[in-house]
């Protein structure tokens, strides 16, 4: 119990007469970084505000680092200032009437530290986030990335038991975003701070999270490491949400690793299923590899669209059975095979047996 950084049990929250969260539960160990992924309006911010104590839930239980901060059964609800959970909102809410230094000292004041220790903590946190040179400035004189670092510094200065981050990188350009992600990852790791971050960015979730949840329709799904979720999206019930392609199939009556996939044909997989059962196959766009050789698990398809992205080429293809698939391949691979195919070209697509997640269909 003592090793738990955050426990949320059966949280129900109404806002403006609307049920926003119904029965949300999650569990983070100390030092873990939980990430809640969800589309806009899913209730992600409400979840953070409920944990921070800014929004009052209708029922449930919240425990921060072993301290019960909210329990509807016992009628207990600690005010935000006694929860030890520092919030970094999406807007950052840097106090415009204070300098950067005053913003950080603001978080140190309630600790009532001797002046020398307060100075030392200010210096340390400013150094950690690389903002020492910004201390005399006002928030209005900072760039987006600088503002973000100041907001993190202010929250970390309070040495919170839990850090709550709301879409921390949403307003930043790509290079700044990348730099800050690495910085935050390092800092969270070094300080051992338990953090819960909500975001709609898959990259943020995968790069920062040690435990990943998906919020949809007021409920949380997942709760495993990003790797586990990426490898077994079907068993976590999140394949469709992650934008993965979920295909229907039937297991061969005699061969437990051979599937008959609608619109594709025979697909050999690495996992044994019950012969004759109905099954689901979840495929990531990068599970499928363009190839120049015929063979097992290789399918002929016509290119409908071809799109060059930052790091790869996306091909929308249609199989001979009429199934549309999105394939993502490295540009170099396609060039090595004779060039990037365009609309109307025929390509061969190979699916390694180990790549797809397969499970027996529920019901």
């Amino acid at each position: 119990m003592a090793a738990e950084g955050l426990v949320v049990e059966d949280l129900v929250v109404h806002r403006g007469g609307r049920l926003v969260l119904h029965g949300v539960s999650l569990r983070l160990l100390r030092g873990e970084v939980g990430v809640v992924l969800g589309p806009n309006g899913a209730g992600k911010t409400t979840l953070l505000h409920s944990i921070a104590g800014v929004v009052k839930p209708a029922q449930g239980r919240i425990v921060v680092a072993g301290i019960v901060v909210y329990d509807s059964v016992r009628g207990l609800s600690l005010p935000p200032e006694r929860r030890g959970a520092a919030l970094v909102p999406q807007s950052l809410a840097l106090f415009p009437h204070m300098t950067v230094e005053e913003n950080i000292r603001f978080a140190l004041r309630p600790r009532r530290l001797p002046r020398s220790e307060e100075d030392e903590r200010l210096r340390r946190v400013a150094e950690m986030l690389g903002i020492t040179h910004l201390l005399p400035r006002r928030p209005s004189q900072l760039s987006g990335g600088e503002r973000q670092r100041v907001a993190l510094a202010r929250a970390l200065a309070a040495e919170p038991r839990l850090l709550l981050l709301d879409e921390p990188f949403s307003a930043l350009d790509a290079p700044t975003r990348e730099r800050l992600r690495r910085l935050l990852r390092r800092i969270l790791h070094e300080t051992g701070t338990t953090a819960l971050m909500v975001t709609h960015s898959f990259s943020d979730a995968w790069l920062l999270g040690t435990r990943l949840y998906l919020l949809r329709g007021g409920k949380l799904y997942g709760g495993a490491s990003p790797w586990e979720i990426a490898e077994k999206p079907l068993s976590h019930g999140v394949a469709g949400f992650l934008g993965l392609q979920v295909l229907e199939a039937k297991v061969d009556d005699r061969d437990p690793v051979l599937l008959h996939v609608a619109g594709l044909g025979l697909l050999r997989v690495a996992r044994r299923l019950r012969p004759g059962a109905r099954a689901l196959v979840s495929l990531r766009a990068d599970d499928m590899v363009p190839t120049d050789r015929e063979g097992p698990n290789t399918y002929r398809a016509r290119v409908l669209e071809s799109l060059l992205t930052r790091y790869s080429v996306r091909l929308l293809v249609e199989t001979q059975g009429g199934l549309t698939l999105l394939v993502e391949a490295p540009r170099g691979l396609l060039l090595a095979q004779g060039g990037i195919p365009g609309p109307g070209d025929t390509v061969l697509i190979h699916i390694p047996p180990e790549a797809p997640d397969v499970a027996e269909a529920p019901g």
Binding site: P80, A85, A86, A93, P96, F106
Partner: protein
Amino acid sequence: MSTGRLVAALVVAAPAAAVAVVLLYLPLWAGPLRVARAAASSEALFAVKLSLVTATASSFLAVAAAVPAAYALSRGLVPWGRLLETLLLVPFGMPPVAVGASLLVFLTGPGRWLDETILHAVFTPRGLVVAQFAVVYPIAVRVLKTGFDAVSPEYEAVARTLGYSWLGAFTRVTLPMARRGLLTALLLCFTRSLGEFGASVMLAGAYPFRTETLPIAIYLAIGGGSIALAVSLIAVSGLVAAAGVAGLLYLEEAREERG
């Protein structure tokens, strides 16, 4: 200069010139020397002093009383907020003389004990403060509510999670961030209190050297035929108004620069 700019200059300059001509004509008409002498008279000095004291008191009281109300309305902390706000603002839309008369009738009728124990407002100098307060309080509520509306509750939320009580977050974050609204409210209430006549004359009466504020003194001087005194008082009120309005415009400009 293009025609458009010329027209724009004219539509602003013409009314401004009208204000200047009317204000400057008065002392010339009454005789500058007589006006200067009247301005130094004990009655004029009394009126200026009383006006400044009562307007300062009523504007500070109104703003102090309006801060919690405006905050509660802005944050939606009270049920039936819209209805309550409407009720609070009703005196703003009423003729001040009606507000003063209502107060007089109430404080000499069912509210007599209130007047006798606490307010002592009927036909007294304190009545000036009560009357001015009644007229400017709605202005303070309105301006302050707009000021608080402009401060996102997220700032308070962050302050709370960083270890501050509600009051701590309010005094260290919300109030300083709404300070321009606060100053605007103070200045508006002050200038409006200085000019308050209708409610004051109904509740406090028009007694020379007792409840004689600037507007009441002007009224008494004109009624008594002391034109030079009236004009000197008008000139003083014009100067005070100019200072107040300049302050308001400065605040507005500063806010635009910040925003």
